[in-house]
């Protein structure tokens, strides 16, 4: 989706506002927004790609206005309703619907350390050789999917060089929409800054992107 989240290469967003000795959370609600997302995610009703896509679906003006943990809150409310864990009426009232059953939370405090330590590896084992080798020239496909994708606009149609094969990983473009993991190789691809941005860029600089097989053609 060519949304506002796909920001690479945009200009005039203003200066970078650096905060010295920044706290991890600026207010208790930020920590709660973070923790609620993680704890509710333990129901496994959605995956990391669906979670990212839900943030991308926030309308552009709201996306720019909202703080990070406000977006997380918005995303969580949407996913909870979409997956049926809560109803929109419950979100609005803040109380469970009369007669609704009480569940048992999958993530207890005791399990937090081991769950965080395990994480959610996205690597998968797939048969067969990889399509590209280090040093090979590739072109990023010029595609404009209306759903979730991790192929930024600024690189589409551009030519780069395979830097490294990371092995196979879950494909977000399908996984975000619960259409399967479609695991495939992910490559680190080097794009010369001048290929991306023209003569204004330094001839020495480069941008490296991690790109799934389905984003690439031989060049």
């Amino acid at each position: 989706m060519n949304g506002i989240h796909d920001m690479g290469g945009m200009q005039d967003m203003g200066p970078i506002e650096y905060e010295k000795n920044e706290p991890v959370f600026h207010a208790p609600w930020e920590g709660k927004s973070f923790a609620l997302n993680n704890a509710a995610g333990a129901w496994r009703k959605w995956n990391i790609d669906a979670g990212r896509h839900q943030i991308e679906l926030i309308p552009p003006a709201d996306y720019l206005r909202m703080s990070y943990y406000e977006k997380w809150l918005q995303r969580l409310e949407e996913l909870l309703v979409k997956t049926g864990l809560v109803t929109q009426a419950e979100i609005e009232s803040g109380t469970p619907a009369p007669g609704s059953p009480k569940a048992t939370p999958p993530l207890t405090a005791e399990r937090v350390p081991s769950v965080l330590r395990t994480g959610g590896p996205a690597s998968r084992t797939i048969p067969g050789p990889s399509r590209f080798q280090a040093g090979q020239h590739v072109r990023a496909r010029n595609i404009n999917p209306t759903g979730h994708t991790r192929l930024p606009r600024y690189v589409r149609g551009k030519t780069g060089t395979i830097h490294r094969d990371h092995g196979a990983y879950v494909f977000p473009d399908t996984n975000a929409h619960f259409l399967g993991e479609k695991p495939q190789h992910v490559y680190s691809v080097r794009f010369a800054a001048r290929e991306l941005w023209g003569e204004q860029a330094s001839p020495h600089d480069a941008v490296y992107l991690d790109m799934w097989d389905d984003y690439l053609d031989p060049a």
Partner: protein, 203 residues
């Protein structure tokens, strides 16, 4: 692929104090038995007090004093970092890139805010902000100047856009004059910013 799209936009129009919304959502989810309040506290405590840039600093210091470790770290970041006990959530697949006098690495996530939690903790606001995410790829030298780093024109700037599940950690240059410092003392010098690539380590 996003037939739900128009629907999503409908009930997002009413802005409300996020602190109140979070409070209401928390009490709803606890009451429905969907989340355990003690688990929420444990998650917050973990990222406020246990997981943060001190983890990454230990990795960097070890690499500075142990050439064999550094070699393993650059070849297989995930396993070398696991040797020091770090890994898991948002650090499942780690890549470490080395700064040298000729090469400067800078990490960004243009599409969202991907960041190596296991070694750096949760990302600062500026890293997640539109100005950094938009400009780091098109004008990395300008961004670095804003952070006080003026790179020589013949140096190579490598920007790593975290578009997949690989997470990046910059191995900064060891500052001159630190030859006699212990690994522990070296780790105290290493900053979060240096491990993102927007700072240098100072002696």
């Amino acid at each position: 692929m996003s037939s739900e799209h128009s629907h999503d936009h409908e009930h997002q129009a009413v802005p409300c104090d996020p602190a109140l919304r979070v409070k209401a959502l928390e009490s709803l989810l606890v009451e429905k038995g969907l989340v355990d309040p003690a688990a929420l506290d444990a998650l917050i405590d973990t990222y406020e007090h246990k997981v943060g840039p001190r983890n990454g600093a230990q990795v960097v210091a070890r690499a500075w004093v142990d050439p064999a470790y550094k070699k393993r770290l650059l070849a297989d970041g995930t396993n070398a970092i696991a040797e020091l006990g770090y890994g898991g959530r948002q650090g499942e697949h780690m890549v470490v890139v080395e700064n040298t006098p000729k090469v400067h690495n800078l990490v960004v996530c243009t599409l969202c805010s991907c960041y190596p939690w296991s070694v750096l903790g949760l990302p600062p606001v500026w890293y997640k902000s539109a100005p950094y995410r938009s400009r780091a790829v098109i004008d990395p030298r300008g961004v670095l100047r804003e952070f006080g780093l003026d790179l020589p024109s013949d140096a190579e700037v490598r920007v790593w856009d975290s578009t997949a599940e690989l997470r990046y950690l910059v191995l900064p240059e060891r500052p001159a004059g630190t030859e006699n410092l212990s690994e522990e003392a070296l780790a105290t010098l290493v900053t979060r910013d240096a491990m993102i690539g927007v700072g240098r380590v100072k002696a």
